[in-house]
């Protein structure tokens, strides 16, 4: 009876998660993630799908139907790095995925990794960037007014601003974060960033226990490189979020270590590694799976599988601190599978 109950509960809690291995080192690091999740006995079964751009006759780009269906069914996905062909008229694949699933909020935590020493390791970085993911400067609306004069439109809507603000405050509450600062340039872009701030303030009023303030983006740049420990959750529109999240990734050691999650409507959540495809590392299988793995851990926590996530994280941090079996981008010589095996060894104890 005990056995059947265990079996029943394991069947009940076996989650199906979509996996987009991606290009370049993508498939290789995805293998590592699957291996490590297996070692930690994570109750996940993977549904792998390929993603590539399909250019439609009307000029729009879309991704394969089976990939789309899989996400709509499973709601949760993990995505590797993807290549966008230049000059073939495609919109970037990342952008297409964002639009297809309505991914409106991008969450990029940046936490100092033990074993990866940067000039900022001493005071320690532990911040989260919340970036509006659908509009802003990435509207793609540009035109040449007269030869030699180009206009690019930055779009800010009340709805999109409110959505990301609401997610940010909810996330802060769920994760015990006490401070949210909205970064903006409303002194210059009075109406657009002004509207963004207005929505942030309205949502902030509903979360009185969270300390909300606003800061000019340039001020934030100045302060974060002096003392990043003073920053907690940061909320901002699209372009600033893109730039700033790369900045914070740099503070902890680079994009090879930075996880990222994207929230869509109806509970869709796609976690991804934000680094590139690193084609030069494919042959020797020397890519670093840490970013994809950390994104996977974010995913596990989102799904409520906290204990497995903690177990894997402890093994990863121990491996990184020892600095014996680590990949080339952080100063070691191990290959991707060697690094993954070391982590599995530590998980199994």
């Amino acid at each position: 009876m005990f056995l059947s109950r265990a079996l029943r509960s394991s069947c009940r809690s076996l989650h199906t998660v979509t996996l987009f291995p991606g290009d370049g080192i993508g498939p290789q690091i995805s293998e590592s993630v699957k291996k490590i999740f297996d070692a930690a006995e994570v109750p996940i079964q993977w549904e792998e799908r390929q993603v590539y751009p399909i250019l439609e006759p009307n000029g729009k780009t879309r991704i394969p139907d089976d990939a789309v269906e899989s996400i709509f069914k499973n709601k949760i996905g993990l995505k590797g790095p993807m290549r966008t062909a230049i000059g073939k008229g495609h919109v970037s694949l990342n952008l297409t995925i964002r639009r297809t699933f309505g991914l409106y909020a991008n969450v990029r935590p940046a936490k100092s990794v033990p074993g990866v020493i940067t000039p900022y390791s001493k005071e320690g970085v532990d911040c989260v960037i919340m970036r509006e993911n659908t509009e802003g400067e990435y509207s793609g609306i540009e035109h040449q007014v007269v030869p030699g004069v180009v206009q690019s439109v930055k779009l800010i809507t009340r709805d999109a601003s409110r959505n990301v603000a609401e997610y940010a405050f909810q996330y802060a509450q769920d994760h015990g974060r006490k401070n949210i600062v909205a970064l903006h340039k409303a002194n210059i872009m009075k109406m657009s960033d002004g509207m963004f701030l207005e929505q942030c303030r309205e949502v902030a009023a509903r979360y009185p226990e969270i300390n909300y303030r606003e800061m000019y983006l340039d001020s934030a740049c100045l302060k974060i490189v002096s003392d990043p420990s003073k920053f907690d959750v940061m909320l901002m529109p699209n372009l600033y979020g893109d730039i700033f999240s790369d900045l914070t990734a740099g503070l902890i050691g680079g994009l090879g270590l930075a996880p990222s999650g994207n929230m869509g409507k109806d509970g869709i959540a796609i976690y991804e590694a934000v680094h590139g495809t690193a084609d030069d590392l494919v042959e020797a299988n020397k890519g670093n799976p840490t970013a994809l793995l950390m994104s996977g851990l974010m995913m596990l926590r989102h799904m409520g599988l906290k204990s497995q996530a903690d177990k894997i994280e402890a093994a990863v941090l121990e491996t990184l601190t020892e600095r014996k079996v680590i990949t080339g981008d952080i100063g070691g010589t191990a290959t991707n599978p060697e690094y993954a095996d070391e982590i599995c060894r530590k998980i199994r104890g």
Partner: protein, 385 residues
């Protein structure tokens, strides 16, 4: 009566002769070349007043701690007897409501051709005035040089980069409208003319200052037409300067590289918004808003101001701001006015004070006041002179 007249004439002549002699004698006595039994008085302790040859420069202290920083500069200039006269224009939040005072500031700058300013806070109901300064005067190139100071503890050392920012267009066009309720459009304008102009300025500047590399910072992967145009203009101009290395970098990667390996950067040229971010970031890397000066150039005008533009309203009136940035900017202004001796002396003095850590304001980890720093700079000037 004939003889009397002659005698009277002679007496008058004698009188005048004596007077002349007396005057000559007096002049000789007071001449510094001769000391008659008095201790030799060194003239360098009290600089002589120079008559004529004074340049008038517009001074706009601005808001927040601006007036305190301006005071520091005027004090130093007075003590050093620099032949510069300031036409001070109070332009702050209250005055901005009056169009007249703003127009007067622009006229003054146009007339004098050289200005020293703090930061002006945008008033709620008016267009952004820092921008108007750029636009009305077409001060199109903002140059911020970020160099590590030995005496300031930062996370990185050995930085020496120059951020050149296009100052008149781009995202700062202030063209916004709410087309439909809840949907706001903000226009970013990039023109070929201004992009070529700033690119040429950057390469000329690099050549003049013996710099080896110019990096164009952009986001043309996303903003294909606008930043694409900017990038293309930089590339075209680079071909005229084969001895200077040229590269392009996407702005998010730049920000990452700046915190990982900032020593790789030399001269950077970029549109308005990225320039704002990168110059603030780089300023933060070398010590903050209190120590980084900047120079801005137009066709016939030069404006000098602190590199990271922050008014620090909370500390207004408390005299805790670090005037080093403002003083360095004023020193660059002196050099621009061909007053190289005074300019170089002042630059060296400020650098010494910062490197020897002889005076630490709040931003440098101490609790000295603005006055203390001013005094420290002045005593270093005296020491070096």
């Amino acid at each position: 009566s004939g003889i009397n007249a002659e005698y009277r004439e002679f007496q008058t002549f004698q009188h005048y002769f004596k007077q002349i002699n007396l005057r000559t004698m007096l002049r000789r006595i007071s001449s510094p070349a001769v000391s008659i039994g008095r201790a030799a008085v060194s003239t360098s302790a009290v600089p002589r007043t120079k008559y004529g040859g004074k340049t008038t420069v517009t001074l706009i202290p601005g808001d927040g701690v601006g007036p305190e920083l301006a005071e520091s500069v005027t004090t130093i200039f007075k003590e050093m007897a620099v032949p510069v006269e300031f036409e001070k224009i109070e332009l702050n939040r209250e005055q901005m409501k009056d169009e007249g005072s703003f127009d007067y500031a622009i006229k003054s700058l146009k007339r004098n051709g050289v200005g020293l300013k703090g930061v002006i806070n945008r008033s709620a109901d008016f267009r952004h005035h820092n921008l108007e300064f750029r636009g009305g005067l077409d001060v199109y190139a903002n140059v911020v040089r970020c160099m590590s100071f030995e005496g300031i503890q930062t996370h990185h050392t050995g930085i020496d980069l120059i951020a050149i920012r296009e100052n008149t267009e781009g995202e700062y066009s202030s063209l916004e409208h709410e087309s439909v309720s809840g949907v706001v459009e903000s226009l970013k304008i990039i023109t070929q003319e201004k992009s070529m102009r700033i690119a040429k300025f950057a390469f000329d500047y690099a050549r003049e200052h013996n710099r080896k590399k110019v990096t164009c910072i952009h986001k043309a992967n996303i903003m294909k037409l606008s930043d694409g145009l900017f990038k293309a203009c930089c590339k075209e101009v680079s071909e005229d300067y084969p001895m200077i290395e040229y590269e392009e970098q996407i702005v998010d990667n730049t920000c990452q590289q700046l915190v990982i390996n900032p020593q790789q950067f030399d001269v950077m040229v970029m549109p308005n918004l990225y320039g704002n971010l990168v110059s603030n970031l780089a300023a933060g890397l070398v010590g903050g808003a209190g120590v980084v000066p900047s120079k801005s150039y137009g066709e016939n005008i030069a404006v000098f101001e602190p590199g990271a533009r922050h008014t620090w309203m909370e500390m207004k009136g408390m005299y805790v701001a670090n005037p080093a940035a403002m003083v360095l900017s004023s020193a660059f202004m002196l050099k621009h006015l061909q007053l190289h001796e005074a300019g170089d002396l002042l630059i060296k003095a400020v650098n010494n004070v910062l490197n020897k850590r002889s005076c630490l304001t709040i931003d440098l980890g101490g609790n000295a006041s603005t006055h203390d720093m001013t005094k420290a700079i002045l005593s270093e000037v005296e020491h070096l002179a």
